[in-house]
Amino acid sequence: MARHQFEAKIRHESGKVIIDLYGEINAFAAEDLNEAYDQAEESGSTDILLNFTSVDYINSTGIALIVNMLARARKAKRHLILCCLSDHYLEIFQITRLGDYMDIYPDEQTALAAVAH
């Protein structure tokens, strides 16, 4: 059974830094996710885009990790942007009010266009 699997890969597009997330965001994702964020912050880009296309599971611990990342971004004057959340997790981001603190876009193109200027 595919489990404990998480990956975060850094990519640069149109001068922005993008973190592509894969798999399950839960307790096991903590280390990789934080490492990816460190790299993104070091890249110097103000906007950091998290792409959720390949995420198939986020649990409450995963939400805590995202809260933690958002807190770090606010401290470092970085701007976290999200895209490609499934309808279900979009709903969860709204229930938890995380959506009030981060801009969420349906796809990567829209997200990049929105932060282009």
Partner: protein, 557 residues
């Protein structure tokens, strides 16, 4: 207490019981006017013994004795005292000063005085007793008035009206043995449509019990604001009551949470009489164990769940019934109660023909006329009416009828990190044929995963010997997933809305989303605390999805 009375003879002093050691004031004045001299004679004053041992005239000015009372009399110019003695008790003195002629009192005078004193003593005693009784009657009247007010206040603490639920008949009876009572009952309407029923009995009766009753009622109401499971309500109330309750007092209390739609009731019991389920097949006592409230803090209370079928009733009663005695000093007792309980007549209890009415008839027949009620008597009955026939209203008939649960599947998982995903996938597989709308299925999956994770982490502490049991059930209208841990440890806290701003600014841990998420993902979440066979406790989190009809739509978007 002093008695005073005047005689136109000369001076008359009345003194009552020699109680206080000190003397009352007496102003020296010419002894020619009739006046009342008030003073006490100390019990150890030799003059008292002298008066009691020598009835008849006493020449005060010729007595030699070290006596404060004698000095008082001399200072007042008293020449002669005639003790007024009734039933061996000195109740007053008839005192005379010197004659106006300054001559000695004659033998006639003395005889007259003696006769007068003999008749005055009993008359004075009667007057004193009458006055004392009047004072006592006034005190009693005042107390009774206070108790009447207390009774009125206490009645306002009881429900003012009975719950009115379609398909149910609820009745209650409350009769204190004295003006006020240690018995109480209460109904609480939960926001989700469930009904809380509480019945309590404070040790003892009368005013002390009534005071504790008033507090207990408030504490239970406050607990029901925070918790929705009967075990948690009792446990929380117990912790609140323990520090303040007087020693040697406690409260037995029954707490029931009834879902009127399904007839499912869950109860926890803090040492109260076992409620009786009256069915056509006989009477069942519903047993759940727990200590009375107010004895020890930190108690937990088992919960039992059962379904009251249409045509069945639940009887809740206090000690006043079963501990009533007849003139032969036999007790009413539980066996008699069980025999007294018939199942409801065809078509339910009608008019004056009620279960409570029948029990009161049985009680008065048993005790006979002129019974002085020994203890507070309270009854509450919950009667589930026969489902209406289908011709009346098919829609209502289906909701009022008994909800049958069918087990779709169950499995057990070891407490290992990551197993929540297995649980989620297995539940998805089990409910596949229900073809749930994908949004609702996703919500259920998240709720199942979160609840399983809580069970493994908080309940079982990830101990590999403690499994998580998962059961999926289906009724005609609802889907339920029950997730049970075996940790037995801490109660599951009620879900609160996490404060995101506080979490972002580091004032709150970024974690703590689990229960909040679960509650928002399903139509209903219930937490049960149960007893395992071999001691200890387990938690069951029950997740409910409404399948049709009034869909609450769960999560707000």
């Amino acid at each position: 207490m002093f008695s005073r009375f005047r005689k136109s003879w000369q001076a008359l002093t009345a003194s009552e019981e020699p109680a206080k050691p000190e003397t009352a004031p007496s102003s020296p004045s010419p002894a020619l006017q009739a006046k009342t001299l008030e003073f006490d004679i100390a019990p150890n004053d030799p003059l008292l013994a002298y008066f009691l041992s020598a009835p008849g005239l006493v020449e005060i000015d010729q007595l030699v004795m070290d006596s404060p009372a004698l000095r008082t009399l001399n200072q007042a110019g008293v020449k002669i005292s005639v003790p007024l003695v009734s039933q061996g008790e000195l109740i007053g003195l008839l005192n005379l000063g010197g004659r106006r002629s300054e001559q000695e009192y004659s033998a006639d005078d003395r005889r007259l005085l003696q006769t007068l004193a003999t008749q005055a003593a009993p008359a004075l005693r009667v007057a004193q007793l009458a006055r004392q009784q009047q004072a006592e009657a006034r005190d009693r009247e005042r107390l009774e008035q206070e108790l009447r007010v207390a009774r009125i206040i206490q009645e306002t603490l009881l429900p003012k009206e009975l719950p009115n639920m379609p398909g149910w008949k609820v009745a209650a009876y409350w009769q204190p043995a004295m003006a006020v009572s240690g018995d109480f009952y209460d109904f609480i309407n939960f926001p989700d449509g469930k009904l809380g029923v509480i019945a309590g009995d404070v040790t003892d009766k009368g005013v002390p019990a009534a005071l504790v009753m008033a507090t207990t009622r408030s504490v239970l109401r406050a607990a029901a604001e925070r918790f929705s499971s009967p075990g948690h309500i009792l446990s929380h109330a117990n912790d609140q009551i323990c520090p303040d309750i007087p020693a040697n007092m406690f409260i037995t209390c029954l707490c029931i949470v009834l879902d009127p739609r399904s007839g499912i009731l869950r109860l926890a019991n803090a040492g109260h009489n076992l409620p009786c389920q009256c069915t056509p097949g006989g009477v069942n006592e519903l047993r759940a164990t727990g200590m009375p409230l107010g004895l020890l803090p930190g108690m937990t209370y088992d919960e039992v769940e059962m379904t009251l079928q249409p045509g069945e009733s639940l009887l809740i009663y206090s000690d006043g019934l079963v501990e009533a005695h007849n003139p032969q000093r036999e007790m009413f007792g539980f066996p008699r109660l069980r025999q007294s309980l018939p199942c409801a007549p065809q078509g339910g209890w009608q008019g004056n023909n009620t279960l409570i009415g029948l029990l009161l008839d049985q009680l008065s027949e048993f005790t006979g006329p002129g019974w002085e009620q020994e203890d507070d008597v309270t009854f509450v009955t919950l009667e589930r009416l026969e489902a209406p026939t289908s011709s009346e209203s098919p829609a209502e008939a289906s909701t009022a009828s008994f909800e049958t649960w069918q087990v779709l599947g169950e499995f057990v998982l070891p407490s290992e990190p990551g197993n929540e995903i297995t649980a989620m996938n297995m539940v998805t597989e089990i409910v596949r044929d229900l073809t749930l709308e994908s949004v609702r299925l996703e919500r259920l999956k998240t709720a199942v995963a979160e609840a399983t994770m809580n069970a493994m982490e908080h309940g079982n502490q990830y101990r590999d010997d403690l499994p998580v049991e998962i059961q999926v059930l289906l009724s005609p209208t609802r889907l339920a997933v029950r997730i049970t841990d075996h940790g037995g440890g801490n109660p599951i806290p009620e879900p609160e809305s996490p404060d995101l701003e506080a979490k972002l600014s580091g004032l709150q841990s970024p974690r703590g989303w689990g229960l909040f998420l679960i509650k928002n993902m399903v139509d209903e979440m219930n937490i049960h605390l149960g007893d395992i066979e071999h001691g200890g406790t387990h938690h069951t989190v029950e997740l409910i999805l409404n399948l049709k009809g009034n869909d609450h739509g769960s999560a707000p978007v």
